[in-house]
Amino acid sequence: MIRFENVTKSYGKDCKAIDNLSLKIDYGEFVFIVGPSGSGKSTFLKLLTKEEELNSGNIFVNGNNLSTMKKRKIPYLRRTMGIVFQDFRVIEKMTVFENVAFAMHVVGAKSRDIRKRVPYVLSLVNLNDKARKKVSELSGGEKQRVGLARALVNNPDMIIADEPTGNIDPSMSYEIVDLLSQVNKCGTTVIMVTHDISIVKKFNFRVVEISEGKLKNDIKPRGK
């Protein structure tokens, strides 16, 4: 599903954010991406969403070679991905329902489908009863669940979560990762960048460690 082949990405002459990285992630996998700050985790995600162009190598996502992909095809690539941000990136002035519906609206979904799909997704993240609430009235954990619902609403092939637990308390963090693991059980690939070792230890998933832009460790889940 995702294949990095000798990928290198540099900023300037000397700064190699990703250095000759090769990695394969299969359909339906749950992968933690870990590593210290500045190790290249964010660049890895940027390359995956084609926000950044690579310097050499190849990246394949669902059979599409991102290095040769045309600009106008990028939105369609991103529709196969649901992105969850550390800072939630929800629109405060909108309600929970509107925030999730917004993601469907911008990809041209019909109002009838939006009215059906959004309540279903909100029920998956246990926010059904807060659909009409303004996002500004929610807690950090709830905001992140709105973010997760928005990522899920267009039925993506994969969820890309960039430190989704970084701005919420530990108990909520487990809840969010638990939700992600449930999504993963339904067959959606999940790639989650995190600094939180306790979460990595608690959940038995594959761990990819990046350091100085290189693959340092690739630990398969225990007993799988």
Partner: protein, 299 residues
């Protein structure tokens, strides 16, 4: 259909949220349109005046000053005998003086000293065939004691050079104000985009196409253009009618009726407004989406 509704809603929202800048854009476009429309209307009126002068087959023959009525009558006979003359009507200096007293009213006493009559004896002459106009005029000029002949070609030349000047000045004004309008509109839209960059980044992250992101901002430009067009038409209508009524009180002037060209003016303004709105929008969008907007996901 759903998308069109969404684009319209967002477009109106953008205009409203960015009220002051939108108003500034509308104002500049209104100035541009009124000046352009004014220049065009003036040019149309001048063309009409030119045509009416060219179509007139009557001219005025002015005699030298201080000629007695008897001498004038004898010159009149000579005029009548000239080839191509259909009629010749005597117009005394007293009659001319009376006419201008009526037209100028109180101003007459300011312009003309008491007891003095600055007008010469004259004849209103009608020609049989306008194709011999120049020849007839030169024949009349040859008659003794004829001071001058009101030559339509002279007036026509003056009017047409004035028309040319107005067209050139109008073009300069339109070009410079057009550039200013484009600059203001594109900046207004750029500010709206900057204010909504957060939403735009979310839109891009969930896979919105550039076209979908651009559309509400193009609609914003179109709304600004249309608003300017409506306001300009209303103001131009009012100003033009007022000016025509003031001018026609002073001199015999039959300007074209604004009602007859209302829709032409309105449609031209709408087209111009939409054109400027779309171009202004596209300029800012292209720049924005290529620069700031390129940073979509912003990890």
């Amino acid at each position: 259909m759903g998308n069109i509704k969404y684009f319209l809603k967002e477009g109106f929202k953008n205009v409203w949220t960015n009220g002051i800048m939108s108003a500034a854009s509308v104002l500049v476009m209104v100035c541009c349109m009124i000046l352009t429309g004014g220049a065009v209307l003036l040019s149309i009126n001048l063309n009409q005046a030119l045509k009416s002068i060219e179509n007139k087959n009557s001219i005025t023959v002015f005699l030298q000053k201080g000629i007695s009525h008897e001498v004038a009558q004898s010159i009149g006979k000579k005029i009548e005998q000239t080839e191509n003359i259909f009629s010749c009507e005597y117009y005394s200096s007293e009659q001319a003086s009376e006419k201008y007293k009526d037209v100028l009213g109180g101003l007459y006493d300011v312009v003309v000293q008491e007891g003095e009559n600055p007008f010469p004896e004259a004849f209103h002459v009608t020609m049989k065939d306008l194709s011999y106009y120049d020849k007839t005029v030169s024949e009349l000029k040859k008659i003794e004691k004829v001071e001058s002949v009101s030559d339509r070609s002279e007036t026509a030349t003056k009017l047409s050079s004035l028309n040319k000047l107005i067209s050139q000045a109008g073009l300069c004004i339109v070009c410079s104000l057009g550039m200013v309008s484009l600059f203001i509109i594109s900046n207004t839209i750029k500010i709206t985009m900057h204010n909504r960059r957060f939403e735009i980044s979310i839109m891009k992250s969930v896979g919105a196409t550039n076209g979908f992101i651009k559309a509400p901002f193009i609609v914003e430009g179109i709304i600004i253009g249309c608003l300017a067009a409506v306001i300009s038409t209303v103001i131009l209508n009012f100003v033009y009618n007022s000016l025509v009524s003031v001018v026609s009180d002073i001199i015999p002037f039959y300007g074209i009726n604004f009602k007859n060209i209302f829709w032409e003016v309105f449609n031209c303004f709408i087209l111009t407004g939409v054109f400027f709105g779309v171009i202004g929008g596209l300029i800012s969008l292209r720049k924005y989406l290529n620069r700031e907007g390129g940073d979509t996901v912003a990890w």
